[in-house]
């Protein structure tokens, strides 16, 4: 069967149809071409012709035109629409015209940059021109670095390397910075949250260095479909952008299918495993020789899926070798091999984490199966976009898990298909992030009096740093005055550089994992059962000073659950809006103090409490931003106990679905309830950014809280469980009885409709 026949078969299968909540057919689209403009270098056209390209897609032509005019652009087009030409064309054209021109390409990951270099080099080679493209990252051997600094026309790197390896040593890169014409930032949508806020500051530093050397590069950004590409790119680069979001690339008919595995236990709200359902579907495609990519949410998920699929294909025509895994850490060579295997039909199926969501080119696939909602509309479209040819039919199936977010999406396909994808949020002015980059900037070049770094209050921050004995103000300039290399202490990727490492001492000590500082008191206190890769470990010793937890393998029938006492103190209200019945919503700064007090040992399956113990760890303090709102104190028929469980349940739902709107990781936000808040004097729910200083999530929630509450109401109303389950307010044991009903009453008390 080919894909079209298989789709007809599925359409007629009752079992399949029962689980489908939406079958969307996106019609094919024809190409819009433009001729090569006459200012494009003949040698470049020659090379394109040789690669079989005889005209440009309209978006490529537009990007070339705008960039050549000197405008910064952000190009938003679907997967496989030839977006790399949008930047390679203007850059190569400029270098052909002036061999001194230089460009920096920034990619969020190493794998991506290596792929890009390979493709770029191919084009350059076809042109037969001496244009040097180099990757400069942590793996670049020192011997090669000198040549790259001097001769590299195009330096391909990542924000981390720009931050620690290039900007602090700018005097060695004089040639690059003096002649920098273009900065290309691909996958702009990945620069959000903490990472994006950091990167925006790295770009501010880049601007300073460029000014010093007298260059003013044009920024070329590319992004997957998100709600606010222009805004995000402008915030990230500090430059006005021209938005190019009309793709001229053709595409074939596309089927997007939402699939909800059948319920196996209605009371507890348990559905059939999404992994197993996805596996069955994948095998159906694969056995028919249809090239398929299967996305799993974790590395472990990839391994399990891969094992299942190989097993399932053992006796099939194509055999188990036709299925390959693909995770972070694969080398370009292996990817080339997979690509080649796909082209030559030796490889039929690829199982991947979201590593392949980014623009790595593995060639055309016919079907994609997404195991579990990837967390955002944008990601889902990216993963679905992995299947799709320029001319033929393709299919993508989203298989939902039983988490609240998945269940909401799968049961509200209109929401998914109707609303724009999420916004990429960043807050470059987050005080913590800003101050750390002002330090780095002062290290790179002294600040001049009156110089601004992103914010009006730059001088106050400089003056503060002087009082901290890090800078020295003399002769109208602010000089770095410390025997330290500030960039090394700042990681762009993680909320804090202070992670705890988990060391397995069962045999030879080895590090098996990392736990972020905020979660450490909950997960790796002494005697905690730490589960990693399906294996249980018991924490024997937690060295809080050294940030190390020593664990040993155990096999017990319980897990541990720590009680975290979270106190939240309002420091400053920045926005506030009253609503009915004397309630209100707020946005402001808070101080969160969390203290792990004790832990319980909970037996598997029965959830009996089989013991407990104290936790002796210092409290963690964090200053961040929060969104909070009050509910009426007295709601008819609600006891104190009901109120508590209602608040807890509602808080759970809100925190679970908020990532949908924020395009953030579920761990980026947290919720706290207060039955009677000392600040509002009313029952209150707080949701705060789990990052010191806040990254903008709470503020966005403040703006859209009605929408959020309505979505929460819908989830609770539509959930088939009796009295709370993990798909809505949370399990009964956790939130207490009556949570569903109380939560609904609370929402009713706040909303006016």
């Amino acid at each position: 069967m080919n894909l079209e026949q298989l789709l007809v078969k599925l359409k007629n299968s009752d079992r399949f149809k029962r689980c489908v909540t939406r079958w969307e057919v996106i019609p094919p689209k024809t190409a819009e071409y433009e001729p090569f403009p006459d200012y494009l270098d003949k040698r470049l056209i020659f090379a394109l012709n040789k690669k079989g390209i005889h005209s440009l897609y309209s978006h490529q032509a537009r990007a070339l035109e705008e960039v050549t005019k000197g405008n910064c652009v952000v190009v938003v087009t679907p997967t496989a629409s030839g977006k790399t030409l949008c930047y390679n064309l203007p850059v190569l054209n400029a270098i052909m015209q002036d061999k001194n021109s230089r460009a920096i390409y920034l990619f969020p990951t190493k794998a991506l940059s290596q792929d890009q270099v390979a493709e770029l080099m191919e084009t350059v080679e076809t042109m037969g021109e001496d244009i040097k493209t180099f990757t400069y990252d942590g793996d670049t051997p020192p011997s090669a670095r000198v040549a790259i600094r001097k001769d590299g026309h195009i330096v391909v790197t990542n924000p981390d390397m720009l931050h620690t390896g290039i900007l602090p040593h700018h005097t060695k890169w004089i040639k690059l910075f003096s002649n920098l014409k273009y900065v290309v930032i691909d996958e702009v949508h990945t620069y959000r949250g903490v990472f994006g806020s950091h990167t925006a500051n790295v770009i501010r530093r880049l601007h300073r260095i460029c000014r010093f050397y007298g260059s003013n590069p044009v920024f070329i950004c590319c992004s997957a479909t998100i709600a606010n590409p222009k805004e995000l790119a402008e915030k990230l680069t500090g430059r006005q952008m021209v938005l190019i979001d009309r793709s001229g690339a053709p595409s074939g008919e596309k089927n997007v299918i939402f699939y909800n595995p059948p319920v196996v236990n209605r009371q507890l709200g348990i559905r059939k495993s999404s992994l197993l359902e996805a596996k069955d579907l994948a095998l159906e495609f694969l056995k028919n020789g249809i090239k398929t990519i299967v996305f799993a949410r974790s590395r472990l998920g990839v391994e399990v899926m891969l094992t299942y699929l190989k097993e399932g294909m053992k006796n099939a025509l194509y055999g188990s070798d036709s299925i390959r895994g693909y995770r972070g850490g694969y080398l370009p060579r292996e990817r080339r091999e997979i690509e080649k295997g796909l082209r030559e039909n030796r490889i039929l199926g690829v199982v991947s984490t979201n590593a392949l969501e980014l623009g790595i080119d593995i060639g055309g696939l016919d079907a994609s199966i997404i195991t579990g909602y990837p967390g955002s509309i944008a990601s889902t479209w990216q993963q679905a976009g992995r299947a799709g040819r320029r001319s033929s039919v393709s299919a993508s199936i989203l298989v939902a898990s039983s988490s609240p977010l998945d269940q909401y999406i799968i049961n509200h396909p209109d929401y998914f298909f109707g609303s724009p994808p999420e916004s990429g949020l960043i807050n470059p002015d987050n005080l913590y992030i800003l101050v750390s980059h002002i330090k780095c900037a002062a290290f790179e070049l002294p600040f001049e009096d009156g110089e601004k770094f992103g914010v009006e209050t730059t001088e106050e921050i400089l003056s503060f740093l002087e009082s901290e004995k890090i800078l020295r103000h003399v002769g109208g300039r602010w000089h770095w005055m410390a025997d330290a290399f500030p960039a090394e202490e700042i990681s762009l990727r993680s909320a804090s550089t202070e992670n705890f490492v988990v060391v397995d001492i069962t045999e030879e000590p080895r590090v098996i994992g990392e736990v972020d500082r905020v979660s450490a008191p909950m997960l790796i206190h002494e005697e905690a059962i730490y589960i990693h890769g399906g294996q249980q470990y018991q924490v024997e010793k937690l060295d809080y000073e050294e940030k190390k937890a020593y664990v040993r393998k155990v096999d017990v029938d319980y897990y541990t659950d720590a009680n975290l006492a979270v106190e939240i103190k309002v420091l400053d209200v920045l926005k506030e809006q009253p609503r009915r019945e004397d309630t209100a919503r707020y946005f402001g700064e808070v101080l969160v103090t969390s203290l792990a007090t004790m832990f319980k040992k909970i037996k598997f399956f029965t959830h009996e409490n089989v013991g407990s113990g104290p936790i002796h760890l210092p409290p963690e303090e964090m200053h961040t931003t929060a969104f909070w709102f009050t509910v009426p104190e007295t709601i008819c028929g609600l006891t104190a106990e009901d109120l508590r469980s209602g608040l807890a349940g509602l808080c759970n739902v809100l925190v679970n679905i908020a990532p949908l709107y924020l395009m953030c990781d579920p761990r980026d936000i947290r919720g706290v309830i207060q039955v009677r808040s000392p600040f509002t004097r009313k029952p209150t729910i707080f949701i705060y950014d789990a990052y010191p200083g806040g990254v903008g999530f709470a503020e966005r929630l403040y703006q859209m809280d009605v929408q959020l509450l309505k979505a929460a109401r819908q989830i609770i109303l539509e959930c088939g469980c009796d009295d709370g389950c993990p798909s809505c307010v949370g399990p009964l044991e956790e939130v207490g009885p009556g949570s569903k009903a109380s939560a609904l009453k609370l929402i009713q008390g706040v909303l006016s409709d």
Binding site: I174, P446, H479, W480, F485, P692, G693
Partner: protein, 420 residues
């Protein structure tokens, strides 16, 4: 208190006091005071004034038991060797600046400043040592201006680890201050590289202080540890009490004097390694390599021969010496050494293969060529058996060699038969 609270308190506190910043740079009186304490004087430049401290070491001054002036007697041949570069024969130490800097950080990067730049040079018979001191950050352009002027008088610099550290750092400072870089046009002899080439096998560390200890038996008393220097300077900047800086200036002067003495010692070692007290033991192997690389085979052979009974370098000395003989076509001597190596088990495989090659190609003695190749093969097999590790290509290569020898042997026999 977290950052934003701190910042708030800080800003609030400032409003109460005074909203303008304290003038951190020093006025004339203060500059004079600091200069006096450090025993310096003020130099005037277009970028303002700065402090310079000058010392003159007359004619026969000795540092670490070495007369500074004797550095001027080092011959061009030796300088070439010390630099391991024939272009340096022209180097004239009368036109050389001995340079060392003290900096605000050891990590490098463009936020690191050189707050003290010491330059030593010969003026007639005496050795003059000037130190340009950046009494605050805003004096940097003035200091760099003076440095550029001074360096204009020289054709070369001598440093210790300057290639990796001082010179790139100063180049960055010139660039950041938008000034031309005088260092670009100067030849640079980095004695760390020279010392490493000669002493790396014998000495655990070739840092300047350990070289002082092992070559001059000199230990510095009350010396400031290098890692403390940045914080001493920062404390001075905040308090403007220059007294704690005096040991730093002293440290810098000692470094420059030691640079000269070290160069003299190295000159002696390179000029007459067997008479000089600067080198012994393992150094001979290193010297052998250096002479060999510079084409001085006679000296090289002498040094290797001396190293043949020095533990640690013995095996390598045998191998290098045999290869040098081979390279020079002194086959008999090479053969003798290979035989000795084979007998004593020194680089056994190497020795057997070299012998086999020698017998096959030079002597056309296929019996012996085959015998040694067979021994080599056995050796590789037993290595494979005992250690479980083996290099397939190695085995294949030896097998190929052996087969070739055997077929040559047969051919010769056939030829002999034909003749009969």
């Amino acid at each position: 208190m977290n950052l934003s609270e701190k910042l708030k308190v800080f800003v609030a506190g400032k409003d109460k006091k005074d909203s303008c910043y304290p003038a951190a740079g020093e006025d004339s009186d203060e500059l004079n005071r600091i200069s006096r304490v450090l025993g310096g004087e003020l130099l005037v430049t277009p970028y303002g004034r700065h402090i310079a401290v000058e010392r003159v070491f007359e004619g026969h001054f000795c540092h670490a038991g070495v007369m500074l002036r004797s550095v001027l007697e080092i011959s061009p041949e030796i300088i070439k060797l010390a630099a391991k570069n024939t272009d340096f024969a022209e180097l004239d130490f009368k036109k050389t600046a001995f340079i060392d800097t003290e900096t605000t950080g050891l990590a490098g990067g463009s936020g690191t400043y050189a707050f003290l730049i010491g330059i030593g040079y010969f003026e007639g018979d005496s050795f003059k040592l000037v130190q340009y001191f950046m009494s605050d950050f805003d004096r940097e352009p003035a200091v760099l201006h003076s440095l550029r002027d001074l360096l204009g008088n020289f054709r070369s610099v001598v440093s210790f680890n300057g290639k990796a550290y001082d010179i790139p750092l100063l180049s960055a400072r010139f660039l950041i201050n938008r000034m031309g870089n005088p260092l670009e046009s100067l030849a640079h002899l980095d004695l760390l590289h020279t010392a490493r080439r000669i002493f790396r096998e014998r000495l655990q560390s070739v840092s300047l202080s350990s070289l002082e200890q092992s070559l001059f038996y000199m230990a510095r008393e009350d010396d400031v540890p290098g890692f403390e220097i940045p914080s001493i300077y920062f404390k001075y900047l905040r308090e403007k009490d220059p007294l704690p800086l005096k040991p730093v200036l002293h440290h810098n002067r000692m470094d420059i004097l030691s640079l000269v003495s070290l160069l003299v010692k190295i000159g002696q070692a390179l000029g007459d390694p067997f008479q000089s007290d600067a080198c012994c033991g393992q150094d001979y192997y290193c010297l052998g390599r250096l002479y060999e690389d510079m084409g001085m085979f006679k000296e090289s052979i002498e040094c290797y021969r001396r190293a043949l009974d020095v533990p640690g370098v013995r095996d390598r000395a045998y191998r290098q010496l045999s290869l040098l003989y081979k390279r020079m076509g002194r086959w008999d001597e090479a053969e003798k050494i290979w035989i000795q190596m084979a007998r004593e088990g020194i680089y056994l495989l190497f020795a057997l293969l070299e012998l086999s090659k020698f017998y096959e190609h030079r002597k056309r003695d296929y019996e012996n060529a085959a015998r040694t190749a067979r021994q080599a093969l056995e050796l590789v097999y037993s290595k494979k058996r005992l250690l479980g590790e083996h290099d397939r290509t190695e085995i294949e290569e030896i097998k190929r060699r052996l087969n070739r020898i055997l077929s040559k042997m047969l051919k010769v026999r056939g030829d002999q038969i034909k003749i009969i």
